[in-house]
């Protein structure tokens, strides 16, 4: 399953996300007053997708954009570049996410992980030559993904309705809103030329897509309904990422593994 591609196209996108996110904010479950509750497991019936028909259209658009533009480019990229170079580029962009990861670690009280993320950034930026290599993982500083959507989820905010964002792909109200916060926290050297920044984003996007050529092809081949496949996988994965500290059974699993009840 492809990870969400973290392509942030700057101000237009932010505006778009704001438009998408604000009218529905009231629909978000109330912020918890007590200790964080654990995110609900995704059971098939609970996939909250009230604007499915709109989502399907955007999904179709994204899929065609992918088929006709992104995938062919990514294939060429993958054909030309050795795997090692691709991995290095992945490492480079991952390293730049350090402020986002650290901030969200702190917001979730994961102080140890925040320390690990700072350590990773220091090690990989220096020893790892500006982040192109990842010696930190081998030194007991593993990578882990954190974003503001996860932080909200950790504090008990539900996903809200499922959303398919143009170009960005599967998301939900909570995670889409989280993208805005994360893009504010990302390293965007404003003194760098806009075209260079856009170029860097394009490289990141193509490189990320190149990592998932096989995965996406197989997923499409095996899926009965690719839209439902992606929606379910996205929502499940987000629940998993939010609960990563204590991956244990809970309410929704009862339905999943004992559908007959009792």
């Amino acid at each position: 399953m492809p990870k969400r591609m973290s392509w942030c196209g700057g101000s237009t996108l932010t505006v778009l996300l704001l438009i998408l996110a604000t009218p529905g904010l009231a629909q978000m479950e109330a912020l918890p007053s007590g200790p964080p509750t654990r995110a609900q497991e995704v059971s098939a019936a609970a996939e909250n997708d009230p604007i499915e028909s709109v989502n399907r259209k955007i999904f179709w658009f994204n899929d065609h954009l992918d088929m006709y533009v992104l995938e062919p480019v990514a294939k060429g990229w993958h054909f030309v570049l050795p795997d090692r170079v691709e991995t290095s580029i992945t490492n480079f962009f991952y390293n730049l996410r350090f402020p986002i990861h650290t901030l969200n670690d702190l917001l979730q009280g994961k102080f140890k992980n925040a320390g690990i993320d700072v350590g990773r950034f220091v090690v990989n930026t220096t020893v790892g030559v500006a982040g192109f290599f990842d010696p930190a993982t081998g030194w007991g500083l593993p990578m882990h993904w954190e974003d503001f959507g996860q932080t909200l989820g950790w504090w008990g905010v539900g996903p809200g309705p499922y959303l398919v964002l143009p170009i960005l792909g599967p998301s939900d109200l909570r995670d889409g809103g989280g993208l805005i916060v994360d893009s504010a926290a990302s390293i965007t050297p404003f003194f760098v030329n806009t075209y260079i920044l856009l170029g860097a984003r394009a490289v990141e996007l193509v490189n990320t897509r190149a990592q998932y050529l096989d995965v996406v092809r197989k997923a499409k081949e095996s899926a009965f309904d690719y839209y439902t496949f992606v929606r379910n996988a996205y929502l499940q994965r987000r629940v998993g990422l939010i609960n990563d500290e204590e991956p244990h059974e809970d309410a929704g699993q009862e339905d999943l593994y004992h559908p007959e009840g009792k």
Binding site: F224, L241, Y257
Partner: protein, 214 residues
């Protein structure tokens, strides 16, 4: 004297007791021994067997697929998995439909996973932990290590005991449960065309994906 004899009897009783205990233990252990492996052992055997086939250099891709299919069929409890995947829809099926669904679903998974045979790239499987779940299920956590890069992949196996043996009933890949994912898709299909449409789709897909001869 009397006390000595009493002592002797006691000794005798005690030694018999020890012998009986020893026999009892042996008997008990022989009864336990042939019984099932623990869940982590089951997963270890499964992944070792699959990797051994993948590493065969002289075997053709087709032969590998066949072998892997046979291994997987041994370790996965397809009837249970089918029931979980169809959930509430399961009870509405007649015996014949249930049987064909199990068969087609089994075929579908082996076709899908058989396709991965060619892309083996020295991956190794590491068992990272296990835990008991509610109502006797067991989860074994593993990590697929990819030495050629690309990052590790987390795969959890959920097992359930069926007549003394642990069988796999779900795979959770990077936190995405296959059972949940298939359930979601199949619910969509069944909502627009019922079990007949689902069986037809499964059959068509399996036929297109060059089903493996059994």
């Amino acid at each position: 004297m009397k006390s000595m004899r009493g002592w002797g009897v006691l000794q005798e009783v005690r030694s018999w007791f020890v012998v009986a205990l020893a026999f009892g233990l042996v008997a008990a252990s022989t009864r336990v021994a042939p019984a099932a492996d623990t869940p982590p052992q089951v997963v270890r055997k499964l992944t070792d067997a699959v990797i051994a086939v993948l590493q065969e250099k002289s075997m053709s891709a087709d032969a590998k697929r066949d072998k892997i299919r046979n291994i997987v069929v041994d370790y996965i409890d397809f009837p249970t998995m089918s029931r979980l995947v169809l959930a509430r829809n399961w009870s509405g099926l007649n015996e014949g439909q249930k049987k064909s669904f199990i068969e087609e679903f089994k075929q579908h998974l082996s076709v899908t996973y058989g396709k991965n045979v060619e892309s083996y790239n020295n991956e190794k499987v590491q068992i990272t932990g296990d835990r008991d779940e509610s109502r006797g299920d067991w989860t074994v956590q593993t990590k697929i290590l990819r030495p050629e890069g690309g990052g590790d992949i987390l795969v959890d196996y959920r097992l359930r005991q069926v007549s003394g043996e642990w069988k796999v009933i779900d795979l959770v890949i990077e936190r995405v449960s296959l059972v949940s994912n298939f359930r979601s898709q199949f619910q969509d299909v069944m909502a627009n065309g019922g079990i007949d449409r689902l069986l037809k789709l499964l059959h068509e897909k399996n036929a297109a994906g060059q089903p493996l001869k059994s």
